[in-house]
Amino acid sequence: MNKFMSIFRRESAVIPVVSIIIGLLLGALIMLIGGYDPLLAYDSLITKIFGTSYDIGEALRSIVPLVMCGLAVAIAFRAGLFNIGVDGQIIMGSLGALIVGTKLSLPPLLHALVAVVFGAILGGLWGALIGYIKAKRGINEVITSILFNFIALYLSHYFIRTFMPQAGTQRSAMIQESASIQIGWLSQLMGGARIHWGFLLTILAVIFYHIYLNRTKWGYELRAVGLNPDAAEYSGMKVPNVLVRTMFISGVFGGLVGTFEVLGVFKYIAINSVTSGLGFDGIAVALLGGNTALGVLLAGTLIGALTYGSQGMSFGAEVPGEIIRMVIGFIIFFVAAPGIVRLFFRPLTNKMKKKV
């Protein structure tokens, strides 16, 4: 029992929990200043997440892409790469899924499988290209990945408008039903919430991330390159290969998000003037989760649930949902600067020590 409790006394667990509490309190304070009722707001937030089985399902649906994007950013981080191009990789993944989903005719299960794999590979290659340019030409991946986001966005617009248009609308044609990855019976059970097989794949991806990083030779190389590329090079590792391989995996994670959104949720791609921004949320998830598998899973769940719940807040308490984005910002801020959190609870821990 003592051992179990000690987990919660460890700073790595205490800091995030305290940060979440302080973040929510700060959010409440801002709501008070803005003339809103924070209790009503948080009440509608929680109701929105847990209220009905439909809400629980939809909350899960919004958690999935955040966890995946978190993994995509995290794996690159561990290799010392800052991948802000996940948005672009998502687009390539969704484009791949859309092409297969609309243009091919295959039996149901196979069709979905081919679409997911094609999208994932397209996303992976889009990521690998960034790694390749970094490895061959030494161009900083931050530059490449941001440029690639825009290129992917317009490339997808071109493909959608030219080959898969839906006349009179700003979106693509629908995928064929055989390519859908929705879990029909579960969706019906949960009041029509868009539950899809991507949920299972996400859990597998989290496990894969952990094993790959900590239990394989490639994962060892990845971490070595992340800690010190020169040392890795001198010890005989092929750093360029590691960079390309890591960015490929990162891109696959991103690409999968795209395939989930197209095949499992929307069934089409809307033509937007900006990228989804999910990849940038992924940066927050990865950092909040400390770039570990479990951390990313928890952080993605938290941010995903809060983001979904914020819709209920603006509907139920008429509080703008941006408040929740601010709360998320505060939470990450405090986790990143634990010194500030210690200021808050130093008096508290001192008391506890005296009692013991």
Partner: protein
Amino acid sequence: MDIISNLINGTLVFSTAFIFAALGGLISERSGVINIGLEGFMVSGAFFSAVIAYYAESAGLGGLSPWLGVIGAFVFSAVFSSIHAIATIGFKANQVVSGVVVNILAASSTFFLVKLIFEGSAESPLLTTVFHKFRIPFLSDIPFIGNAFFNNYPTTYIAIGFVILIYFIIYKTSTGLRLRAVGEHPGAADTVGVKVNRMRYMAVILSGSIAALGGATIVLTSNGNFAFNTISGQGYIALAAVIFGKWNPVGAMLASLFFGLAQAVKDQLQIFEFAARIPNEFFYMLPYVLTMLVLIGAVGKARAPKALGEPYEVGKR
């Protein structure tokens, strides 16, 4: 000839915001603090300039109102850069994380405030008084060069002025020497009496104010109001310009100009007849593809300030 003259003019128009933001990022990074928050500072600058200029306009200040917007953006955006400074310097937080937080906080709090101030509206009202192109007397009458260089928005002239000023400060003054020393080798700078953290605080806070001018430029010269998509990725392009320009003010300006040129080429190309047969999307893509190609073709690795990303701890070797 007219086309080339217009092309140069357009390049300057498009680059201005990037130049400001890149200069901001550069100052922070030269002091050793990574600045991913440029996007957030631009959002903040766009917001404050739009709101302040709107109220100044309503108060009947006329032509003065955009100027107040610019000043307001410069002053108030320091709030966000102070957050970055306190977190990274005071509390030694991970600088990338803190920058991401700045981006999240700047976007969410300004959208929240817009809804609060303008009663639920998702964007600020359209300004009627914005900056107009200003013809510099005599100089603008020179054929070709006049239209290209001396018929531009006031913000463009200010941006170029900032480049010269910051170049001069960084390379020709003792403050600049200290700034560079703090970014390259804080331990050595400390030994000779430079207050490392004070220097970094100044650099980071100023960086937010300068980058905010980029956001203000977009509102006050092209968009005319502040909405959720006013700033969409420009800050990251500026970040790229800092690296592409090798952490040098002139380099960052050239990188920004190049990016502006690619945008201007897009606009000028669309005039030609053959352009009608090319899908629009390829024109939108052009600036990014061109930048990519030039980067791949360019030789030489960029070298970041040596202490970039490391909080300064006394006694650490």
